[in-house]
Amino acid sequence: MTVLHLRGVGRVHGTGDNAVHALVDADLTIAAGELVAIMGPSGSGKSTLLNLAGGLDAPTSGEVLVEGTVLASLNKKRLAALRRRSVGYVFQDYNLIPSLTAAENASLPLELDGTSAGKARRTALAALEEVGLDVKQADRFPDELSGGQAQRVAIARALIGERRLVLADEPTGALDSTTGEEVLKLLRRRCDAGAAGLLVTHDARHAGWADRVVFLRDGRIVDSSAPLADAETLLEGAQ
């Protein structure tokens, strides 16, 4: 089932001579259960793609579909509603609202959507348990959490409730490599459990966790790689 579909998407900043083509004619499909990594040097349009996918930014050409809905057809209010119900973001750091506890942060989209506090909390606790945080940690404030824990909360939030699409922008950038690994493993597991993930990274090792890697250069998708069917043969070659 296709969760995210980019069809000929382009994004131009400015006009005339000053026009900057941040993204050109990008096609991309992500199905449920799939984790796709986007790689490319800085300025290649990775973040633009991510912003377009979540409706934070609007394409100048082409269209973005999230779970079958064309984003361009939505007004600001309904875009916000879409982000509450369908799309979750995980950024590099400072993902959490400092004045809300971990559980409240995780249930933020639900609360914004009008879910009752009790129900939101129950859902959040379940979601946090899935990412390995217990009730005690759930009631801590962001500044009492480690960086890895904070990112776990962010992932739990990104996939809370009915949300099926997680858009992660360098989610391990601020973490040490072991903790980063854990976070990616978690993301991988969540995708294996049925979520669709789009991971922006410049780190090949992180992209290694993806099912597919998309390379971006100067706003264009230049190549994409899926793993070979049989892994065993590779090992021979590495000898």
């Binding site: 916000a80 979750g88 400072y94 993902n95 400092p98 933020l108 609360e111 914004l112 009008g114």
Partner: protein, 939 residues
């Protein structure tokens, strides 16, 4: 929707707790004005008694107070609600002159008019208004009221009389009111020395008492004293009724009974007919004040919200990424405003009530009566809470709007938002200023207070909106400054989002303070200019006033002689110089010719024909507005039209007439040759006048006499004017008092004036340093009167200055400066906190740690200077508007009114423009930590 609000409030609450200092400040800014109102409202409601409570406080368990007002006549009492009943007197009522006023009904007569079993006791509502007794005070001789009550009568205690000390006085004992006891420094068992006609006698103080409605009154109660005139405390079996009041009315008595306050007879007149309604203009003025105060509070508290919202930009972007709609983000910031408003209001109300609770004794002392318990106008306090919420919301509004428009992508990337909108904001600001000017002019022309309010609000908001543009303009000038001020200026220009609200806060306070100070200063200058001077500033004088008509010269002399020793005791090297005063009353020979008549003889200084202002002829008898306006316009251009309001309505009373050089000098403030000329002229029988244009080419002045005579039937007879030409000299300015004349005795005689009938004035020359305490001591010893009450005395130092105004202006300025200082400090602190990273960079390139201090200092100076400068500008512009409004009704009048001028309160301006930045800078130097953040990390 509701769930969203709950979330917003939760975030707001946690934010408030996270940044306690900033929250406390915002709450204080929002709450302080409210605290004032809350204290005022609570104090007012606590101390104000209802009609019923007033009646109960005075009457206690007794039924009524009855008082003889028209002895021997019958009256119809119209109102029953308070202690001053209105009544109708019979039509033919008149007291013939010389006829003895009938005695009020005695105890038996009053009792006879009341039902069987009634009790009455003499009583008065003015214990210090009754005939007093002279007593010895710690500092001399004084007088207190004396009430002839027999305190054994339980009616007094039932009325609420309370024994603070001791019990009902026995034979030869008196009770003192607590205020009198304190004044005389006496307690129970002490002796009170009373001076009577038959010499001094001593009375023992048997009790110290208090009447709940007259806490500050000084009086003594003793059986021996005279019972107060015609008033009775009444206790009837059962309730006092209208039917019982009627026979008293028949006897010329009014009744004040609790039962009738509660349930007035049907014939009673509605009290509303006699109470003053607050007129609409006053209502609008109060509205205007509320608008202005809310505006200032918004400007003050707004920056805290704006800066906090800026710091939370990423947070809002995150919320947006998680699906918060712009409205939800706006609500999150607004919730902070509501929360702070609520806390501020709650704190203000609670503190206000507590303050009144603690301060009730003080309040009772001030008002002189007990309160009926703590009350706090619940409706008004609720209104206050609502106002606080509105203020909080308004303060947070700008921040909320900008937060909801946050550029999510830029914020998430950690980029500072661009400088877009500065131009738009500038146009908005200029537009607002234009609206303000239009509304201001319209408000003045149409005399519409709502328009003026709009002008104030729009003007200040406009200036605030222009601030960023002004800042960026100024930032360009920074190139030639040293590093720290250059960075500060550039930062202010770059971080307009933070600097502008800070400047706005200072601007708001300073503008209001400046406008206020200017109005008050101009008003005091105005009143100073129109004050007539008599004796020179600082002169000490003794005035004697006759209590009755017929005073002989010998009596005046005796009165002075009585005062003399007291004066000598307090003043060394005393020289008493009489200032002879003449009057036109009973003068011009009328009294001598026919003693039955009353006469007023007025001499007016006239101008020679060529010096007369054509205004009076121009308007003729007609007085339609256009003619008057045109005539006034013409008069403004005509040099001979220089008469002011104070030049009209001359009285020929209390006119000084002497050739004594000392007096002439003191009175006219002339010196040297001019003084010699003046004295010579007076010796030659001339007069001094205050109008230079009245002097003819021959050096004389023409005085015109008008004589009004009332014959025995009281009707008026005016005789033809008579003129008199005398040598004259002009003393410019308003130095000759209200009569604008200074005569020689010879001239006074020619004018047929007589020595003042009611007043003698003596200039007291002494080597003693005279201050308030000396005057106080003389007054205390002299008492209010001499010669057995036939002559009242007054000792005073001539003082034309108005220290109250000066102190008021300084106090208001000081307060404004303090608030401005606070606003500067807080805003700067917030901005500095925002620039931590720059500081780290600076530390990394090897900047000295003190750079941070210097940077903070310059940042502060920048904000304070901009705020104070723009605020003063706004204040001056605001005053210009106010001045127009104030002058408008005064402009087209002749003789001219003194208009509100451009008197700049330099002290105030100095304090705000110079002292505030300097103090703020020093504060920044002292309180900023020198260590750069990067260095702190290393330790």
């Amino acid at each position: 929707m509701f769930a969203g609000l709950r979330l917003s409030l939760r975030i707001a609450r946690r934010e408030a707790l996270r940044y306690k200092g900033r929250s406390a400040l915002s709450i204080a800014l929002l709450g302080l004005p409210l605290l004032g109102v809350s204290i005022g409202a609570t104090a007012y409601d606590t101390i104000t008694l209802s009609e019923e409570e007033t009646a109960r406080q005075h009457l206690g368990e007794n039924d009524a107070f009855v008082e003889s007002v028209l002895p021997g006549e019958s009256l119809e009492q119209l109102t029953w609600y308070d202690q001053w009943p209105m009544y109708d007197a019979p039509d033919d009522f008149a007291v013939e002159e010389g006829e003895a006023i009938p005695e009020p009904p005695g105890k038996e007569a009053v009792l006879a008019a009341l039902p069987e079993g009634s009790r009455i006791a003499p009583f008065t509502l003015y214990p210090d208004g009754v005939e007093g007794i002279k007593i010895e005070t710690p500092s001399g001789v004084g007088e207190i009221g004396a009430l002839g009550y027999d305190l054994d009568d339980e009616l007094y205690e039932r009325a609420g009389l309370e024994y603070v000390e001791g019990s009902a006085p026995q034979d030869g004992e008196v009770a003192l009111s607590s205020a009198a006891a304190e004044y005389l420094e006496l307690g129970v068992g002490d002796e009170l020395a009373v001076q009577g006609e038959e010499g001094e006698r001593s009375l023992t103080v048997g009790a110290v008492v208090e009447l709940p409605w007259f806490l500050n009154g000084r009086y003594a109660i003793g059986e021996d004293f005279a019972a107060p005139y015609g008033g009775w405390l009444v206790d009837v079996p059962g309730e006092f009724t209208y039917e019982q009041a009627l026979p008293l009315n028949e006897m010329g008595m009014t009744a004040w009974a609790t039962s009738l306050v509660l349930d007035p007879p049907p014939s009673a007149v509605d009290p509303a007919a006699y109470t003053m309604q607050m007129d609409e203009a006053m209502f609008t003025v109060y509205g205007l004040i509320v608008v202005v105060v809310v505006m200032e509070v918004v400007l003050l508290a707004g920056p805290a919200f704006a800066i906090s919202a800026r710091r939370r930009t990423r947070e809002f972007a995150l919320m947006s990424a998680n699906g918060a709609s712009p409205a939800q983000i706006r609500n999150t910031v607004l919730a902070g405003g509501v929360l702070f408003g609520l806390i501020a209001a709650a704190a203000a109300v609670v503190l206000g009530i507590l303050a009144v609770l603690v301060g009730t004794p003080l309040l009772e002392g001030m008002y002189g009566h007990r309160s009926a318990g703590l009350r706090f106008l619940p409706l008004l306090q609720t209104g206050l809470v609502a106002l606080a919420i509105v203020t909080g919301l308004l303060s947070a509004l700008a921040a909320a709007l900008s937060a909801s428009r946050v550029n999510v992508i830029a914020a998430l990337m950690g980029r500072t938002p661009g400088r877009k909108g500065s131009k738009k904001l500038l146009f908005l600001g200029l537009g607002l200023v234009a609206v303000a000017v239009a509304a201001g002019i319209g408000g003045v022309v149409l005399w519409s207070l709502p328009l003026m309010a709009l002008a104030i609000v729009a003007g200040q908001l406009g200036l605030v909106a222009c601030t960023p543009a002004i800042l960026s303009g100024m930032a360009a000038l920074g190139r030639w400054l040293p590093l720290a001020p250059r960075m500060a200026l550039r930062e202010a220009g770059r971080n307009r989002g933070s600097a502008a609200p800070a400047i706005a806060a200072v601007l708001g306070v300073v503008a209001a303070g400046t406008a206020f100070a200017m109005v008050v200063t101009a008003d005091s200058v105005r009143s100073e200019q129109s004050t007539s001077h008599e004796l020179a500033q600082g002169s000490l004088s003794l005035s004697l006033y006759a209590a009755s008509d017929e005073m002989t010269a010998a009596q005046w002399e005796a009165a002075r002689a009585e005062a003399d020793p007291v004066l000598h005791r307090h003043l060394e090297d005393l020289e008493v110089v009489e200032l002879p005063l003449y009057t036109g009353w009973q003068a011009c020979g009328v009294k001598e010719e026919d003693p039955g008549q009353d006469a007023e003889c007025t001499w007016t200084v006239t101008r020679p024909e060529e010096h007369r202002c054509p205004y009076w002829e121009a308007i003729g008898d007609g007085s339609d507005e256009a003619t008057v306006r045109a005539a006034v316009e013409d008069a403004r251009k005509d040099p001979v039209c220089n008469e002011g309001q104070e030049d009209t309505g001359q009285y020929t009373d209390g006119v000084p007439a002497t050739t004594d050089r000392q007096i002439v000098a003191n009175y006219t403030e002339l010196e040297g040759e001019e003084l010699d000329d003046a004295v010579a002229l007076l010796k030659a029988g001339g007069v001094l006048v205050s109008d230079p244009l009245a002097i003819t080419d021959e050096g004389t002045v023409v005085l015109e006499r008008s004589l009004t005579v009332w014959d025995e039937s009281g009707s008026e007879v005016t005789s033809e004017p008579v003129t008199l030409e005398l040598p004259a000299m002009a003393v410019a300015g308003h130095l000759l008092g209200t009569s604008e004349l200074f005569l020689s005795p010879a001239a006074a005689e020619q004018m047929e004036l007589v020595s003042s009938l009611w007043q003698r004035e003596y200039l007291l020359k002494t080597s003693t340093e005279v201050d308030a305490s000396v005057v106080e001591a003389i007054k205390a010893e002299l008492g209010d009167d001499v010669l057995d009450g036939t002559v009242w005395t007054d000792v005073w130092v001539t003082d034309y200055t108005d220290p109250f105004t000066r102190y008021l202006v300084l106090a208001v300025t000081g307060l404004c400066a303090l608030i401005a200082l606070g606003a500067t400090a807080v805003s700067t602190g917030l901005i500095i906190a925002e620039q931590r990273q720059d500081m780290t960079t600076l530390g990394a390139v090897g900047a000295a740690p003190t750079l941070r201090k210097r940077f903070a200092m310059w940042q502060t100076v920048m904000i304070a200077l901009f705020g104070a400068g723009l605020g003063t500008l706004a204040g001056v512009v605001g005053y210009a508007l106010l001045r127009e409004a104030l002058n408008n009704p005064l402009k087209f009048r002749y003789p001219f009114e003194t208009l509100y001028g451009w008197e700049l309160p330099w002290a105030s301006i100095g304090i705000t423009v110079l002292a505030v930045p300097v103090v703020a800078a020093i504060g920044a130097l002292v309180f900023t930590r020198a260590r750069l953040p990067s260095e702190r990390r290393m330790t």
